[in-house]
Each structure stands twice: as structure tokens, then as C-alpha cells.
Amino acid sequence: MSAASAGGGGRWASTGYGALFYLFLFGPLLIMTGTAFNSSSFPRLSPWECFTTDWFGVLLNDRRLMDGLWTSAGIGLGVVLIAVPMGLAGALALSEIAPRLRAALYTVLITPVLVPGVVLGISTIVFWGQVGRALGMPTTGLFFDGVFLTIAGQVTFVSAYAMLIFSARLQRFDPTLTEAALDLGASPGQAFRKILLPFLRPAIASAAFLTLLASFENYNTTVFTILADATFTTALASKVRYGIDPSLSALAVIIIALTLIGAITHEAVMRRRAAILSGRAARSRLYGHPAGRLAVHPATILALLVALAGLAVWQGSRYDSSACRAGVLEERRALQEKLMQEQRARMRQTAPAPAVPTEPPAPGGNGSGFGGAFGSGLRPGGSSAAPAPTPAAPSPAAPGSPPPAPGSNPAPATPFGGAFQGIRPPGG
């Protein structure tokens, strides 16, 4: 009896622990996802103002970010095309070399991963600059081009990632297969193309994916090598420096959705392969039946997910939150009006005295880095003890008035200008 209850307690404890663990992992993502759909101009869940999809529009209209996206894509492609073959060559060299030299070669190949990205970035600029000058190249030449330098800088360490992936796969390769191919009359080149390369195909796919990601998300090296240009990541970083708004949450939602679609499709592929390999496929009810087989085919699942995502995008693009937002503004103005009247009443009663102590300091007031975002007039009676009759911060313009074109002015005059910019979604 007591043992059973203890067991029950243990189960509760472990369930609770598990819940906490997942909350820790996914809580931030969930909250961020929520904030992408709140019309509040600072990313938060409460107070909840209006459900809106306008932040996605704000995101897509940010020119600097979108230009950065294309630059990143170009750089990523270049890095994949160079780093994957280089990583493969390194892994092959490691597996072929005499064991005594292997450790030394491994250290040489892996060092760029261990060197801080900042150092790689600076040394890339310095090195190619030297080479360019030695060749008498003008400063508009290739070796002074941000995209070229970024590819060169990223390849140095990204190819080591690719090499690690290929090494892991190569360790499971049975070298007698290559010998068998040679023995059966294949030239070394044929043995490589027809035996080793097909075996490495999954590793090539993962290496390409991983190098693309590594290139895309790299900041430390890229921020130096990109020079005057900007990649998605560096553009994002400079945007955040000017303050954050929920369009970043919208970006997170897009990334999470893409990741989920990819992960679910990948899982479907793996399950299908496992079922076929184990021979379970023919016997299982799901895989044995033609309709079931079609239903769980990765292509079907991918198509379904893409269709769902498309539907969500279409519905979202049609959703209009302007009525609700106007209501919120109206409410806020009424509240402000009421507060001001109370204040006036109080001022008439008491002698003019500093009213500060009665007012709690505004949470996250203007002293904080994101103060602009907090102080954007959303909190009634917030930041000033003696509120001016005008509403704080950006004047709540009538919905539908043209927004100040987000992104068109990447360096606003005030440090917090970015936070005020784009609060009102285009056409909102």
C-alpha cells in the first residue's frame, strides 16, 4: 500500500519533472509564437490586444532583411559547393593516411573550428587584402568583395564540419567493397563513383544541409568579412540593436514552421525506410494496404503539410485586425481621458506638490535598452508623473494611414527609433 503510493508519487515527480523540462525547452518558442500574433507593438502576450497577422507583412517589407536573405542564400550556396567537396576530400585523406600521421592531419583540419570566429573573420580580410594588394588589384576587386570574403572565411571552418560528418559515415564503410569493385575490373575512379559515393549519399545530403545552416546563421566571422554588405544574420543583428518588435517573432514562427515541416517529413522518410528494411512493410496494416501506403508516403505528408501552411498563409493574409485595433485605441484614449480628469481633480484638491511618490516607476522605463519599446504610449499613466494631454510616443494615427515604410530608413535618427518604426503594419 505504502509502496504503491510511493511509486505513484515517484511517477508524479517524474511527470512533473518531464513537464518542466519540456517547458524549459519549448516555453520560449511557444511564447514567442504567441507574441507574433498580438498587435501590441512590443512582443508580449499580456495584455493581449488584438489577434493580427500584420507583423508578417512588416517582416516581409523590411528591405534590408530581405536583401540580406538573398545575399545569405548566395553565400550559403557558394559555401556548400566548396565546403562539401573539401570536407569529403579531408575525410578521405584521413581514412587513407597512415595511422601515425592521422592525428596530426586531424588536428590541422579541425583547428579552424576551434579558432574564434572573430579571429577567422579578421584574418580572412587581412590575408586576402594582402594577396589582392600583392597582385595589384584595385580595392573594387574580387578579394575586397564582401561576398567573396565571407565565402572564403566561412569555408575554412564549415568544411571541417562537413569533414566530421563524412568521417563518421566513412567509419562504417566496409573497405573490402572497394576492393571487390577493383577486383571485378573497376578502375579506382569507377569504384569511387559506383560504390563509395552512393554509400556516402546520405552523408552528402546532411553535410550540405548542415553547411548551409552553419553558413546562414554565422555571425562572428561574417560580421567582419561581409564589409559594407549585409547578410540576413548581420542585418537581423543590426535591426535588433535598434530595438525589437513582433516582426522578429513572426520570423521565428516562419522558421519554426519550416523546421517542423522538415522534421515531420524526415521522420516519415525514416519510418518508411525502417519498415521496408525490416521487411515489416509487407505485413503491416498501414504499409501493406495501397491506400495506407499512399497516406504515409513522405511525399503525401510533405504535400499535406505544405498545403496546410499555404492555407494558413492565405487565411492570415486575408485577416483584417483594423477594427479591433481601432477599438483598442479608442479604449485607450478613453482611459487616458479618465485618468487625466482624475489627475486634474486631484491637482485641484491638493497643493501643487511633486506627485512622483504616488506613481510607481514605469516597468522597464526609459533607462533600459529597449525603453523605447516599453514607453510607446501603451501604458496609461506610465512613464511620466505629469502626463501631457498628448498621448505618449507615436501618435495613434488613424488606422489605414501609410506607415513610415519600415526598412527604408535603416539608421533612424534616435537610438530607439527602430522600436517605434513599423508598429503600425502597412495597411493596418
Binding site: D174, E179, D183, F199
Partner: protein, 366 residues
Amino acid sequence: MTRDVLLDHVTIRFGSFTAVDNAYLNISGGEFFSFLGPSGCGKTTLLRCISGFVEPTEGRVMIAGQDMARVGPNKRPTALIFQNLALFPLMSVAENIAFPLEVRGVSRKGRRKRADALLDLIALPGVGDKKVYELSGGQRQRVAIARALAVEPDILLLDEPLSALDLKLRQHMRTELRAIQQRVGLTFIYITHDQGEALTMSDRVAVMNRGVIEQVDAPTAIYETPRTAFVAAFVGETNVIPGTVLAQSGVQVRLGTPLGPLVGTAAGGRRYQAGEAVQLFVRPEQLVMDAEGPIAATVEKEEFEGATRHVFARAGLQALRLSRVNAGAAGALGPGAPLRLGYDAARASVLPASDGGGAIDAGLTA
């Protein structure tokens, strides 16, 4: 001539370790030739040397009268069946078999036709579209043979191809392999540590020990007239009786042993000095109950194994073993029963005792 292999004083060293020591051997075309020896004696190394994966440190490998030095494995008229088969896991059975044709640029249709013909040859018609992992061990074995035959080699090299199979299948595949060899008429060079395989299939057997080829002979000669103590002990069961030479006349040697004076035959016509330490090897089936026999012993126990009964006896400190056919007359022998044993002196070998006593141990434990 075209399918001959000559190992011309081949020595293969890895660093200071000698894996194959001065092998001299001529294998003629169309022969089923086996290398027999315990694990680690250098059989695989020698085979890899013939197929071109290992260059001899000294000596030459000649195939069809041509020196094979610096001829790559893909240029030699050999095909090797690997110990683990090395079938290509990502290809279908037909693609595996047609691989040698694919690399030679044979058209897809031509490849398929040849693959189907080879599948018929190995009695596995209709499995061409299966994946390799869908086949049983014996089927994979045969697919590996078919793939090697697709090369149209002059010499087929087989590295313990049956070791992964179960006993029944192994015995079946022995007959099968021999039949395939006779059908295609190729030179088969076969490696095994299983004496049963070597003796049943081969035209000739080379027994190897620690990189040295100790004897090359027909299976019956290997079994009945071993030239070294290692061969005598490694191939088949045997009783080893230590002794010293008393006298020799012709090939007949008289020796003094703990069991009294015995007679044996000097293997290979060797001459012995009186007083030399030797060993007398008598096969269990040669040791028979004989009232006139020279050896007095007592039964310790008897084991029944279907067709034969194994009798374990003792004469003083010497353990003896005899095999009796389980025919009508042979009744059970109780423990402690006295025995008189005799043997045919012409079929009992006398070999020098110094001849690799340790090697015998290695052979028996392998």
C-alpha cells in the same frame, strides 16, 4: 598454361613480421587447389597477393607465364570471393552480378541477360530484382560466386567462402562448388581452415603453418603420409607417441617408446640416427583391437557418435584414442576393460620430434 599460377619464392612481410615465407608452388590450369591452415597462418595474405592487393616483398607471382608485378587487381585475370562476400548492399542481386559488365561498358540489356544466365547457373533463377539483404546466407554465397564468374576470370580465388554457413548448408555447398568448378573448368584456389572442406573438394592441398607451406599433396597423401609433425597433427585426429630411434631398415623404423618397442614408417624416406628423438603418429581408425598387437592398454571411456564409437584408452601415461565402426560385431566396451591394440606399421608415420612441437599445439587449438 593460360590458367596456371606460379608462386616463385614469394615472401610477404609486414614490417618485421613475415606473413608468408618463401612460398614456391605451381598450380596448374583447371585445378581445384586448396590452402589449408589455422587462422592467422597467412592464407588470406597469400590470396590477396595473387589477386593483386598485396605486392610480394620478395619473389614473383606469375599468372599464365606473365609476371604480375605492378599489375593492378582490376587488370588481373583473377576474381576473388571475399571472406565476407563483399556484395554491394545498395544494389540488387542482378546489379551485383552485372557489376563487372557495367564497368566494362556492356549495355543494360546485355548485362541483364548475362546476369540471368549466371543466376540459372547457380540455380537461383528469378531472384535478380531482390535486394542482397533479402537473400539467405547460402543464396548470397552463390550470388558472390556468380558475380565473380561474370568477370570471366581464368582463376577464381575463394577465401573461406563457407565459414559463415551452417553445417548442413556447408556440406551441400561443398558439392555445389566442386560441381560449378567442373562445369566452368576454371582454376579454383580455395582457402580454408576446415580440413573437411580441403580434403573433400580439392585436387591438391597445401598445408600452411605460420606462413610456411609445409606440404603440397593430394588429399589422401596429406592424410596418410604427412611430411611434418604439424601436418600429421593438424589434418585429422591422431595419436602421438614419443620415442627414440633404435634402428632403421629402408623406410621401416624401430623405436623405443614408453609403450615398449614399436615400428613405424619414415615419412618422405627420411634417414634417422639411432637414439634420435622422434614421434610416432597413428590415426585412431588405424589403431585396432588385435590380440597379437604390441600395445597393452585399458579402456577409460567410450563415446558413441552414430556411425562410429570413440574409445579413449590409456597405456601407462600415454592416452590413446581409437575409432571403431559401429557395425554389428562391435559391442560396447566398459571402463577398465583390458585391450590389446595393433596397427599397420606402413600407415604409421615416424617424424622428428623437434619438428615444430609448438606448431602442433597451434594447429590443434586453431
